[in-house]
C-alpha cells in the first residue's frame, strides 16, 4: 500500500516537473509575448497542482497536507489572475500579438 502511494506520488512529481520544464521551455522559445506568457501560466498551473498533490501523498493525512491544500487553493486563485492581469496590462500598453519584436522589447 505504502509503496503504491509512493510510486503514485513520484509519478505525479515527475509529471509536474515535466510540465514546469515544458512551461519554461515555452517561455523561452515561443515567438511573441502572449504565447510565451500562455506557456508559462498554463503549465505553471498544471505543474503546481501535480507537484503539490505529489507532496500531499508523501505527507499523508497530517497538518502538512492541510497546509499544502491551503497553498494549492491560494496558488490556483492567484496564478491565473496574475497571468490575466499581466496579459491585460500588456494589451493596454500596446503590445500587439504576433509581433515578436515588441514582445521581446517588453521582456
Amino acid at each position: 500500500m505504502q509503496s503504491a502511494v509512493d510510486v503514485l506520488s513520484w509519478i505525479l512529481l515527475a509529471a509536474g516537473g515535466a510540465f514546469v520544464f515544458v512551461g519554461g521551455l515555452g517561455a523561452l522559445r515561443l515567438p511573441d509575448f502572449y504565447t510565451r506568457m500562455h506557456a508559462a501560466s498554463l503549465t505553471d498551473g498544471m505543474g503546481t497542482i501535480l507537484i503539490l498533490v505529489g507532496i500531499m501523498l508523501q505527507a499523508g493525512w497530517s497538518l502538512a497536507a492541510i497546509k499544502l491544500i491551503a497553498i494549492l487553493v491560494c496558488l490556483l486563485l492567484t496564478s491565473p489572475t496574475a497571468s490575466y492581469a499581466l496579459a491585460n496590462a500588456a494589451l493596454l500598453s500596446g503590445v500587439e500579438p504576433g509581433n515578436s519584436r515588441a514582445g521581446k522589447a517588453e521582456n
Binding site: L77, T78, T81, A85, A89
Partner: protein, 330 residues
C-alpha cells in the same frame, strides 16, 4: 541532496546578481531583485533559518519590490550609462572579492558544532529558553527577550527610516482631502480600476492575507514568525487593496493619522514595556516582573513587544508606500 539543492540555489543567486548589474532597464532590475530575494529566502530555508526566510520573503520579495516600483514611477525606466571609473570599480570589486574568498578559508565548516558561534552564548540560549521563557521557538525568545535591546534598536531604525523617507518625499498637511478631481485622478492613475477579475480575486484574498499576518504575529512564539514578518504581510494586504481600489480608498480605510499612530505607538509600546519593567521593580526590558510567574511575564512581554514591532513595521511600510504614491500623482 540538500547540498546539491543549496549549490543550485546559490548558483542561481549569483546569476541573478550578475543579471541585475548588467541590465540597463530598471524595471527588469526591480523584478530580478524580487527573484533574488526569493532565492535568498529559499537559501535561508535550506539552512534551517525559517524565521529569516519568512522575513526575507515578506520584506525583500514582497514589500521592497512594490516600493521599488513606486520609486520607479517617479523616475525614468532606463539607467543612465556610466562611462568613467569603470576600471576603478572593477579593481575594487575584484580585490574585495579575493579578500572575502580568502577569509572563507578560515571559516568553520557549515554546521560544525565546534564552531566559535556555537561555543559562545548560543548553547546557553538553547538550554535556558525552555526554563526561563517556556516557548518552543528559541529565535523569538532571543529576539524578544534575551536580546530585547537590539530589537528595540531595530524598531527605532525602522521608525527613523520612515521619518526620513517622509521628509524627503514630503507629507501633505491634513492628510488626504477627497475632492472630485482628486478622485478621478486616482481612478485613472490606478491601472486595475476597471479590471474585474484581479479585483474580485484580490478582494477575496485580502482578508486572508491580513488573517495570515495576525497568525504569524501571534504564532511567533511557537513557529517561525513575529512582529517584523507580520507587519510586512499585513502591509502587503493593504497595499494590494490600494492597488485594486485606488490609493484614496486605502487611505480612507487606514487614514494617515492612524498610520502615524501605528508607527509612533508601536515603538512607544515597546519602550513602555521596558519602562513598565523598571516601574515594577525589575530592570529595563526585564519582562519577568510583568506577571506573578516570571515565565508567564516573559511570554506576556514578548507578545506585547511583538505587537509593538508589528504596528511600527506595518505603519512605516504603508506610510512609505503612500508617500511614493502621493508623489507620483503630482
Amino acid at each position: 541532496m540538500v547540498i546539491l539543492f543549496a549549490v543550485f540555489l546559490l548558483t542561481l543567486l549569483a546569476l541573478t546578481a550578475v543579471a541585475i548589474v548588467r541590465t540597463e532597464n530598471l524595471f527588469v532590475a526591480v523584478m530580478l531583485t524580487g527573484i533574488f530575494s526569493l532565492l535568498m529566502a529559499a537559501n535561508f530555508f535550506v539552512l534551517d533559518a525559517a524565521d529569516v526566510a519568512l522575513t526575507e520573503a515578506a520584506v525583500g520579495a514582497g514589500i521592497s519590490t512594490v516600493l521599488f516600483l513606486g520609486a520607479l514611477a517617479l523616475t525614468a525606466e532606463h539607467e543612465r550609462s556610466v562611462v568613467s571609473g569603470r576600471w576603478l570599480s572593477m579593481g575594487i570589486v575584484v580585490v574585495t572579492t579575493l579578500i572575502l574568498i580568502y577569509a572563507t578559508f578560515d571559516k568553520p565548516r557549515l554546521g560544525d558544532p565546534r564552531a566559535p558561534v556555537h561555543q559562545h552564548v548560543a548553547p546557553w540560549y538553547l538550554d535556558q529558553t525552555p526554563e526561563l521563557i517556556g516557548i518552543p521557538n528559541v529565535v523569538t525568545a532571543v529576539l524578544g527577550s534575551f536580546r530585547g535591546y537590539d530589537t528595540l534598536g531595530e524598531v527605532f531604525v525602522v521608525v527613523t527610516a520612515c521619518i526620513g523617507v517622509l521628509f524627503i518625499l514630503g507629507v501633505r498637511r491634513g492628510g488626504y482631502s477627497p475632492s472630485p478631481d482628486g478622485d478621478r485622478l486616482t481612478t485613472a492613475g490606478s491601472g486595475l480600476r476597471h479590471h474585474l477579475i484581479p479585483k474580485v480575486v484580490g478582494r477575496l484574498l485580502i482578508p486572508f492575507i491580513v488573517l495570515f499576518g495576525l497568525y504569524v504575529l501571534f504564532h511567533g512564539e511557537y513557529g517561525p514568525g513575529g512582529g517584523f514578518q507580520a507587519g510586512a504581510i499585513i502591509a502587503t494586504g493593504i497595499i494590494l487593496y490600494a492597488l485594486l481600489d485606488g490609493e484614496a480608498q486605502a487611505l480612507k480605510a487606514v487614514p494617515r493619522p492612524v498610520l502615524m499612530g501605528m508607527v509612533v505607538g508601536g515603538a512607544t509600546l515597546y519602550g513602555a514595556v521596558g519602562v513598565a519593567g523598571i516601574a515594577l521593580g525589575g530592570s529595563f526590558l526585564d519582562y519577568s516582573v510583568l506577571a506573578d510567574d516570571p515565565v508567564k511575564g516573559q511570554q506576556l512581554g514578548i507578545l506585547i513587544i511583538e505587537v509593538g514591532v508589528g504596528l511600527a513595521v506595518c505603519g512605516s511600510l504603508l506610510s512609505i508606500f503612500h508617500a511614493f504614491a502621493a508623489r507620483g500623482r503630482h
